[in-house]
Symmetry: C2
Subunit: 298 residues, 2 copies
C-alpha cells in the first residue's frame, strides 16, 4: 500500500478532532459561556501537529493510537490555551487567528483569559481521567504529566512567551536569543508531544533519545518555516502577511534573511529525518511529517 | 500541653512559607522577570489557609507534615494564580491585594497573565517532582492531581469566576446562584486541599467522607465571613472596605443582610466541627481552624 502523508495527516486529524469534541465539556448552564468559548478556540481549526506527532511517536515504537489519544488531545488543549492568551490585547493583540476572530474578539478579554486557564487545567484532568480509563499505568501518567507541565511552565513555553514579549521591538537581538525563544515557546511542547507519545507507546531509553533528537530539530525547523511563511505571505497560518515583522517580533528571516533561514530549516529537517534512521518502516509518518512541514508553500 | 490555634497557624504558615521559597524558581536570566513576578505574588502575604488545611488534614489521619508539603504548596500556587488573574483589569480590576500592589500594577498586564499561567502549570510539575521525591506513590500522585485539576478547572474554580463575572451588576441574583459561585470559586479548592491532605495522610474512605463534609461547610462559611468582613470594613483582607458591594458582586450580606449572613456562617461552622466528631484529638487543629476563621474580627 502506498503511503500518502496528506492522507495520513487528515485521517489522524479527523480522529483527534472527534476525540476533542468528546473530551470538551458539552455545554454551560445559562450563567456563563465558558465552555462554549473553550470549544470555540479548540475547534477553530489548526493543523493538530502536536497530537499527530504524539500519536505517530507512539506508533513508531509499537503503541496504539487509542492509548495515545487522551494525552495527544490534552496537549492540543494546552497549545490552544497558549494561543488564546498570546492573542490577548496586552500580549500580541491579534484579532484574527487561522482566519477566524480570536477568542477575546468574540467572548471578551475576561472570558478569554478564563477559557485559557480552564483549558490548561482541564488538560491535566483529562490525562488523569482518560489515562486511567485507557489503561495507562499511574507511573506512566505521572511521568507524562511531569514532562508536559515542565515543557509548558515557567522554564518552558511560558518563559518563551515572556522573553518574546521582552525582546519585541528591541533593536539588538542575537540569533541565540531568537533560538531560545523558539526552543522554549514552540519547541518544548513539540518535544513533549513526541516524547510522551514514545513513552505511551512503550519506547525504551534508546528509542526515546532518538525521538528527542528528532523532535528538537523538527520543532526549530517548524518555527523557522513559520517565520519564513510570515515574511513571504503564505496564507496558511491565517495571519495577515508580515504581521510579525510589523511587530518587530524576533524571527530568523528578520535576523539573517529569508534565504539563510530556509537553509537552516532545510538542514534541521535533514537532522530530524536522520535521527529516525535506526527505526523500522513504522517511522515513515514521523519522517514524512518533517518533510511535509518543510514543504509548506514558501 | 495547651493547644493554641494562633501558634499552630503561625508555625504551619512558617513551614509553608519556607517551602514555597524553596520551591519557587530562584531567579530569571536577564531577559525576563517572570520568576520574580511569580515570587512577588506568592510571597505577598496571605493566610496560607489552603496549605495549612492540607497539612492539618494529613495529620488528623496520622500522616506527616513533610509528606503533605509539596501538594500543600502547589495548592497555594494555584490559589495565587487565581488571585493574580482575578485582579486583572478585564476581571475585577483591583490595584491592591492584601495591602500591596497587585501583580499587574507592578509588572504589567502581560507578565501578570503569564505569571498566573506559570504558577498553575508549575504547581502540577511540583506535585510530580516533589511528590516522587517525598515517597508518594504514583497512584496517590495521580489521584491528587485529578482532585486538584478538577477543583480548579472549567467545572470548578474557573467556572466560579466566570459566573461571578457574569452576575456582577445584575439586579436579580438568587441565594442559590450566590452559593454556587462561592462553592465553585472558593469551596472547590478548599475541599481539594482537605481531601488531598487526607489522602496523603492515608485516610480511609470513611475518614475522607467526614473530611469532605467538614471542608464543604468550612469553605462556604469562610467565604460568607469574607463577604461580611468586606461590608463591615475589617481591614484584614487588605481591600478597601465595601469594594465588593461597590462592584455589585454577589455576596450573602448583600442578599440577606449582615445579620442573617453571620447566622448562616455560624451554623456552617458548627456543621464543620460536628463532621469531625468521630476523629480523635488530632482533629483539634481542623476544629480550631474553623472556629478561628469564624472569629475573625467582624
Amino acid at each position: 500500500m502506498k503511503f500518502n502523508i496528506s492522507d495520513y495527516i487528515s485521517s489522524r486529524k479527523e480522529i483527534v478532532d472527534k476525540k476533542l469534541l468528546d473530551f470538551l465539556p458539552e455545554s454551560d448552564n445559562e450563567l456563563t459561556n465558558l465552555h462554549e468559548s473553550m470549544r470555540y478556540s479548540v475547534l477553530a481549526g489548526g493543523k493538530r501537529l502536536r497530537p499527530i506527532l504524539c500519536i505517530a511517536a507512539a506508533e513508531v515504537v509499537g503503541g496504539t493510537i487509542e492509548k495515545a489519544l487522551p494525552v495527544a488531545c490534552a496537549i492540543e488543549m494546552i497549545h490552544t490555551y497558549s494561543l488564546i492568551h498570546d492573542d490577548l490585547p496586552s500580549m500580541d493583540d491579534d484579532l484574527f487567528r487561522r482566519g477566524k476572530p480570536t477568542n477575546h474578539s468574540v467572548y471578551g478579554e475576561a472570558l478569554a483569559i478564563l477559557a485559557g486557564d480552564a483549558l490548561l487545567t482541564d488538560a491535566f484532568y483529562l490525562i488523569v481521567e482518560e489515562g486511567i480509563a485507557n489503561g495507562l499505568t499511574p507511573s506512566l501518567i505521572v511521568d507524562v504529566i511531569g514532562d508536559i507541565s515542565k515543557a509548558a511552565g515557567s522554564k518552558g513555553m511560558v518563559r518563551g512567551q515572556a522573553i518574546d514579549l521582552y525582546l519585541e521591538g528591541s533593536e539588538d537581538v542575537s540569533l541565540e536569543s531568537s533560538e531560545e525563544v523558539h526552543t522554549l515557546k514552540t519547541g518544548a511542547l513539540i518535544e513533549a508531544s513526541v516524547i510522551t507519545g514514545g513513552k505511551i507507546g512503550g519506547g525504551n531509553d534508546d528509542e526515546l533519545s532518538r525521538l528527542r533528537l528528532y523532535s528538537r530539530s523538527l520543532g526549530l525547523a517548524f518555527q523557522i518555516i513559520d517565520d519564513v511563511l510570515d515574511v513571504a505571505g503564505g496564507g496558511e497560518i491565517g495571519k495577515s502577511s508580515g504581521v510579525d515583522a510589523k511587530k518587530k517580533k524576533v524571527t530568523y528571516p528578520g535576523l539573517i534573511g529569508v534565504k539563510k533561514a530556509k537553509e537552516i530549516a532545510w538542514k534541521l529537517t535533514e537532522e530530524a529525518v536522520l535521527a529516525l534512521r535506526d527505526f523500522d518502516d513504522n517511522s515513515r509518518p514521523l519522517r514524512e511529517i518533517a518533510l511535509y512541514l518543510r514543504g509548506r508553500r514558501y
